[in-house]
């Protein structure tokens, strides 16, 4: 019985180890692939302090519209990265509407197309995930919904 319990604990721990949580190493994010809207492959810089992740159209628009009001190097100056996970977007919508629009933004956007990312990173319905890093480890995770909250992130 004790053995089964131990195996179960180890199994759960190893599953959680694949998920981004407080204490996780930032390198874990580079197990996934990212591209700019112009299809240029990107890596997450290891000195990133803040990560914003949007999982749907509205939260993506919230972040993009906010960043569009800032200098195009705003994210880099803040050592921040913005990931838009668009794996749920239908291909036709991505190609016809989303990519042409995203290519017009001056700031840097990381797009993620795969399925597994959304299960590995913390998310809440209709919210932007905010992950803060210190010494390459996750320090805190929070979720925001408004422009006011977004402006306080930085």
């Amino acid at each position: 019985m004790k053995k089964i319990l131990l195996i179960l604990i180890v199994a759960i721990a190893s599953i959680n180890a694949q998920n981004l949580q407080v204490g996780s190493d930032i390198q874990m994010l580079n197990n996934y692939e990212y591209e700019t809207p112009k299809s240029r492959k990107m890596k997450i810089p290891l000195n990133t302090k803040t990560l914003l992740i949007a999982f749907d159209k509205d939260t993506g628009a919230l972040v993009n519209e906010y960043l569009a009001t800032k200098n195009k190097y705003f994210l880099q100056k803040k050592k921040a990265i913005f990931i838009a996970d668009i794996n749920k977007m239908p291909t036709m919508v991505t190609n016809m509407f989303a990519l042409p629009k995203l290519r017009k933004y001056k700031h840097l956007i990381y797009l993620h197309y795969g399925e597994k990312f959304q299960n590995a990173v913390p998310r809440r319905e209709e919210k932007v995930s905010v992950v803060r890093f210190e010494d390459k480890k996750v320090k805190s995770i929070s979720f925001i919904t408004s422009k006011e909250e977004l402006s306080k992130v930085f």
Binding site: S39, K41, K43, L46, Y73, Q76, N95
Partner: protein, 211 residues
């Protein structure tokens, strides 16, 4: 007839749109200027005819091209000046380093050297990453982090042409020297160590044939 044409067009459009490939841009795979990289891997020098190379005493060095990976209309005036500066600096360094007699013009008895410099983003710990991923030779929103993380490397290429035939070509990435950003913009000073290292390698390759 018209209905059939319209239907066919709609079907074709649907296939294209649903295929996921239609408007996804194809990013360039390599940063360089060769049309083909057959027989040429990173840090290799391919000599198709060493005997022909040894027969020449004179060399005409064309101005080093700079491949900035930034569209002309997007280049700032500082970047344009930088590329002119890189070209002049690298060309002069090559002419000084090569033991062949410098020819001021292309002649039948001179080799012609064409070369180019560009930048690539590297992640040597990632075997899946294309270590020749083109990187803008200048600061853009896409390239800035690569320079800050010291993931930028100079790539130098050249070919030697004799009587309209390419007899040697080389592709070098200066792996050991990261291109460091010392200010808000990339400058020639940030690149000189890498350019000098490339010139030394080129000279050692080519001067072998000029004994």
């Amino acid at each position: 007839m018209k209905t059939n044409l319209l239907l066919s067009s709609l079907i074709l459009l649907s296939i294209v749109l649903f295929s996921g490939c239609a408007s996804k841009m194809q990013a360039p795979k390599n940063s360089g200027f060769f049309k083909s990289y057959e027989h040429l891997q990173v840090n290799s020098n391919h000599v198709s005819d060493a005997v022909k190379l040894a027969a020449y005493k004179k060399i005409y060095v064309e101005e080093v091209s700079v491949i900035p990976s930034i569209a002309l209309e997007e280049q700032t005036s500082e970047q344009k000046q930088l590329y002119t500066g890189i070209s002049k600096y690298a060309t002069n360094k090559l002419k000084e380093a090569l033991k062949f007699k410098n020819s001021n013009e292309k002649t039948k008895d001179s080799l012609v050297m064409q070369s180019a410099i560009s930048a690539s983003e590297v992640h040597f710990d990632d075997k899946e990453w294309n270590q020749l991923s083109p990187l803008s030779l200048g600061i853009t929103v896409v390239s800035l982090n690569a320079y800050l993380e010291e993931s930028a490397r100079l790539v130098g290429e050249y070919r030697l042409i004799a009587k309209d035939e390419t007899i040697s070509k080389s592709l070098k990435q200066i792996k050991e020297i990261p291109i460091s950003l010392n200010g808000d913009y990339l400058t020639l000073d940030d690149l000189k160590s890498s350019i000098d290292a490339w010139v030394d390698i080129v000279a050692s390759e080519i001067n072998k044939g000029n004994k």
